[in-house]
Amino acid sequence: MFDWLANPNRFKKSTNKLEPLLMVISLLFIIFGLYFSLFDSPKDYQQGDAVRIMYVHVPSAWLASFLYLSLAVSSIFYLVWKHPLADLISSSIAPIGALFSILTLITGSLWGKPMWGTWWVWDARLTSMLILFFFYLGFILLHNAFERKIDGSKSASVLAIIGLINLPIIKFSVDWWHTLHQPSSILKFDGPSIDNQMLIPLSFMIIGFGLFSLYLIIINVKTKLIEKKCEALILKLNLKEIL
């Protein structure tokens, strides 16, 4: 079943039309989302204008976690089914996820200084998010650390799967332990505790960030496919010269 999905040509064909569409739609969502969240949404009753940082912070955090889940799943596909395309997808996701996790840490820090009174504390939520960032970095480093590429792919995939354990810790850290970070406002049993006027721009940003990451991942995978083809061609030419 997965062999059908893992064919590089089929991947290229099916994403060719999707690619420009994704770019336009995601940019529309982000532009409208940014406009709503920066200019056309209310201040918070306690935080004032600082609440607007949340419209970048929360989507980044969600994407950082969700992309890590995707990274781990595609690493499982690579290790179990040995599809080379799965490895290309993993290594395409990693830098984007790393970017979103550092963005989460930076925006959170910018919000923390005026609201909490500190840039950083070592509470469970902040620390587990930092660890997520390190897992992304570890994946990228390990992936490029070996002479034989396949060794890097394998060990980085193992690391990605180990890091999977960190995801529920990030999500539930605010419920399991006392943390300085507030509990979840959106995904909770008794419904969101965030006003609709704020939830709507936030949803725009989340959808926009999500689609834009998908767009970036597709471009990354395509570039890597072309790279691979070039390498194969060069190898062929060199062989001919020798012969």
Partner: protein, 148 residues
């Protein structure tokens, strides 16, 4: 057996063992992972000890009508609605500091009072425009932290 499924089963096994190990470690480290104690938890943990020289963090709500601020020095009480701890603090309080607000104070315990070196405001998970907050209070359905 198909080698693919063998690999998958090994992977699932390793992951579940790793997950279990992590859970045990986290349970064992619970005391170190929590960022603060509430006054009641502190009492349970240390009993009637009046002086703690290591830095500890106490979290809870600022007790109504307990705040005295004189220039740079402030005295107030933190409560978890069971126990109360008095806090002395010299320095700049965070903007969100007010009566009824959740806060975390870090310092040493001296004579059952916390000599704080840092006071942080804790924000709750409620996000709403000021008008909505006012309306909720007016209608008596306010669920968040007490607001003054």
């Amino acid at each position: 057996m198909n080698p693919k499924y063998k690999r998958l089963i090994i992977l699932i096994l390793i992951l579940s063992i790793l997950g279990l190990a992590t859970k045990l470690v986290l349970m064992a480290l619970k005391e170190n992972i929590i960022y603060f104690y509430t006054p009641n938890e502190l009492k349970k943990k240390y009993g009637n000890v009046k002086n703690i020289d290591n830095k500890i963090r106490i979290g809870g709500l600022v007790l109504e009508d307990s705040v005295i601020i004189d220039k740079n020095t402030s005295i107030f009480e933190i409560t978890d609605k069971k126990d109360v701890i008095k806090v002395f603090f010299k320095g700049q309080l965070p903007d969100l500091f007010r009566e009824g607000q959740g806060i975390v104070a870090e310092g040493i315990l001296k004579d059952n009072k916390l000599i704080a070196s840092q006071v942080l405001a804790k924000h709750d998970e409620n996000y709403m425009p000021p008008e909505v907050a006012d309306a909720l209070i007016k209608n008596g359905v306010w669920k968040g932290e007490e607001k003054k």
